[in-house]
């Protein structure tokens, strides 16, 4: 019964809700030239976003003028629902996450973006379980092996509701909100690197995402009272 709910009912309800809310939101894009440059580069584009901003970006990035995208959803029941929503919006989907099958999913993404020119891959930099705002290796690995460009993208909105108990502090714009979508400058990473370098590139991307989120929040005049990067036990 739960399976049926998650695979059929929840996706339909979520899709209807997303479309309804989206129709009322007013989008404003900043630095769209970065998206245009990345899409026109002839290289695979790896869209890097924060998991907590997925609802602001989902419908927007599914619009044809914003490219064709491959996304990753976990193999859990929640992932089933999310995969169906994303497929209905026009995304291609591979299944896997840091909780299981994530490495194979990254391999599949590399294969698919290389085999299908014009298809980009988008991935939450902080994975499917966090910690919030902490970049995991997937995006960088994807970019270096596919020869792609990383395109940081994030969004903010006002008015919006923040799900404070969610690990990613999911932000959901309220009806008629203004949604600010901001693109960062696309960049490449070396094709060959050791584990220590990978970590450095992850920190670099993390800094870019934090700065980009601050910009989006400033533009929208809203934002989260908590930092983008969740504090680690060692902090």
């Amino acid at each position: 019964m739960k399976r049926l709910l998650m695979r059929v009912v929840v996706p339909e309800v979520a899709l209807a809700l997303i479309r309804l809310l989206d129709a009322s939101w007013r989008y404003r894009e900043t630095d769209r030239r970065h998206l245009v440059a990345a899409l026109g580069s002839g290289k695979p584009v790896i869209g890097a976003f924060l998991h907590g901003r997925i609802f602001l970006l989902l419908r927007h990035m599914s619009r044809r003028r914003n490219g064709r995208w491959l996304s990753m959803c976990s193999k859990s029941l929640d992932g089933d629902a999310m995969a169906r929503v994303e497929e209905r919006l026009g995304f291609e989907v591979v299944r896997g996450s840091s909780g299981g099958g994530g490495l194979q999913a990254v391999v599949d993404m590399i294969d698919r973006v290389q085999a299908s020119p014009g298809l980009g891959a988008c991935l939450a930099v902080d994975g499917s379980r966090g910690p919030r705002g902490r970049v995991q290796g997937g995006v960088v690995a994807l970019a270096r092996r596919s020869g792609g460009l990383i395109l940081p993208v994030t969004a903010s909105a006002r008015p919006a509701h923040i799900f404070r108990r969610a690990w990613d502090r999911t932000l959901l714009p309220l009806p008629f909100a203004r949604v600010d979508v901001v693109y960062g400058e696309p960049f490449e990473v070396p094709a060959r690197m050791r584990a220590a370098q990978l970590k450095e590139w992850c920190v670099d991307l993390e800094d870019r995402m934090v700065a980009l989120q601050a910009r989006a929040d400033e533009l929208s005049g809203a934002g989260d009272s908590e930092p983008v990067r969740a504090p680690l036990p060692s902090d």
Partner: protein
């Protein structure tokens, strides 16, 4: 291609991918894959390097299940065209 030739070509890919310095001359088919100190990044590299070298893409799960370089050679021998 015989097993010795495959092992030599695997060696080139492993040396490229591993975070450790590997003396490939000392590596035999009994050497454990674990001793190469692969992390997930290196596994990803090795999968694509071997694909480039042999035209065989090893699924992640099968790659992680391999115990020795001999297992790797056997897989490639069975799947390379």
């Amino acid at each position: 291609m015989n097993r010795r030739e495959i092992l030599a070509r695997v060696g080139e890919a492993v040396e490229e991918s591993s975070a450790e310095e590997i003396d490939w001359a000392a590596v035999s088919e009994e050497t454990t894959v674990e001793s190469f100190g692969f992390d997930s990044l290196a596994v990803l590299d090795l999968i694509f390097d071997l694909k480039q070298e042999f035209g065989v893409q090893i699924p992640v799960e099968e790659m992680l299940a391999m115990k020795t370089t001999g297992d790797l050679v056997t897989y490639l021998q069975n799947h390379a065209s």
